[in-house]
Amino acid sequence: MSIDRRHFLRLAAAAPFLTTPLAAAERYLLQVNGYPLNAETPLELLTDYLTPNDLFFIRSHWIPRMPDAKTWRLTIDGDVARPLSLSLAELKKLPRVETTCVLQCAGNGRALHDPVLPGVQWKYGAVGNARWSGVRVRDVLQRAGIRATAKHLHLFGSDDPPGKVPPFHRSIELEKALEDCILAYEMNGAPLPQSHGAPLRLVVPGWAGDHWMKWLVKLTASAKPQSGFYMDTAYRWPLKPGQPGVSFKPEEMRPVTEIAVKSNIIAAPTVARVGVPVEIRGFAFSGAPDIQRVDLTDDDGASWKPATLDVRHSAHAWRLWSFRWTPRRAGTARLAARATDSRGAVQPRTAVWNQSGYFFNAWQSIDIEVKG
């Protein structure tokens, strides 16, 4: 097999980030709810640039009525000149596009907020990076003749809850939907798995998972945003930080949109020796298109040293990073990682407490026992 120089250099640059495929018995998710299924990825298994489909975290609000791909159709209605009903085969005739980007549940890290909060107690692994393939929302809406009066796109999936429980209905600003959102029918080159929204889900690069509607059945263009519990009460973020434990009033909050800058440590030794370098690895992501840098500290933030960023990247994808650390003295060393995104936002020491527990992004630290 021949390999050109550019490809070789790219592979060589990525070499520190290449990992050995995991044995079957080592692959698992951590179940935080059996039904509807919610499960996170153990942090130590998030080692790949593309998170494998079977290791990708699963978030479900309600048990979905799984659409049958053969009879399934996507309805596009509302503020459009030509309402549409498209089969999967008809959708696939539109230009195919791909985007690689991070999907993170807004509540990832809720378990780490202090004071504690009710809700799914995600720790670190409600996040992953995948290559999504499908069609542009823009292409579908143009085909339907989207009207200038439309400002929002209402999203409906097939996961209706029982009784009086509010349905997980959402909407997204049309400007964002037209900018870079896609309707994905493939994930990492495979048909979109059922647990990830087959046959079709929305992909919203840079924005939290609450917008990434699964099991899509209808898109409705409208002048107004969707209303209901999952718009008016849930998925809201404080305009400015407040006192931990004190709930914000509705007027002090706005909808959750872009994910907050964050890095996680996925691999590090537990024991090291003075003077002998060790490797620490992780990933970093943000709602901004790229990560500018990741730095590590071993003196509680008094000084920082830069990690090496992996070359693999596309807009809103995560960056793998590695850091070579040489212990200077014996004892327990505490290291923390901090990401800075391409807009200059810096990961904070302490996350902004909010009553729904969204966007926990405080520095993650690890302890390494250093022997003399």
């Binding site: 044995a23 079957a24 018995a25 080592e26 692959r27 698992y28 998710l29 951590l30 179940q31 935080v32 709810n33 059996g34 039904y35 509807p36 299924l37 919610n38 499960a39 996170e40 489909n53 079977d54 290791l55 699963i58 309600w62 378990a111 504690v116 009710p118 799914v120 107690q121 809850p161 029982p162 009784g163 009086k164 429980v165 509010p166 798995p193 059922q194 647990s195």
Partner: protein, 99 residues
């Protein structure tokens, strides 16, 4: 990893979503199961670390959403949840084999 151990682990890890946590026995268990299991499994309860005030607010929210709790039974449900899943509660998620 030892191949025998690997095979045993592979055989025992359940398919995602098929292993449900059981609630601990105690007064109120039946009421909690009747109220909560329509919408979610026990895991969602067993991972919480809420005080009685937070449990009261959560149970009231769920009653507004249709959880079947007799008015006289609300206290039993709240007390059960606060006793078993209060501050300091430890939760170990089940390891499930991805599909």
């Amino acid at each position: 990893m030892n191949i025998v151990l690997a095979l045993i682990l592979a055989a025992t890890l359940p398919t995602a979503g098929t292993q449900f946590q059981q609630l601990p026995d105690g007064k109120g268990k039946a009421e909690v199961e009747a109220a909560c299991y329509t919408c979610h499994s026990a895991d969602l309860l067993a991972q919480q670390r809420l005080n009685e005030k937070q449990w009261t607010a959560t149970v009231e929210k769920m009653m507004r959403w249709g959880a079947v709790v007799e008015p006289a039974g609300k206290d039993v449900v709240v007390k059960y949840l606060a006793r078993h899943f209060g501050p300091g509660n430890k939760f170990t998620p089940a390891k499930v084999k991805p599909q």
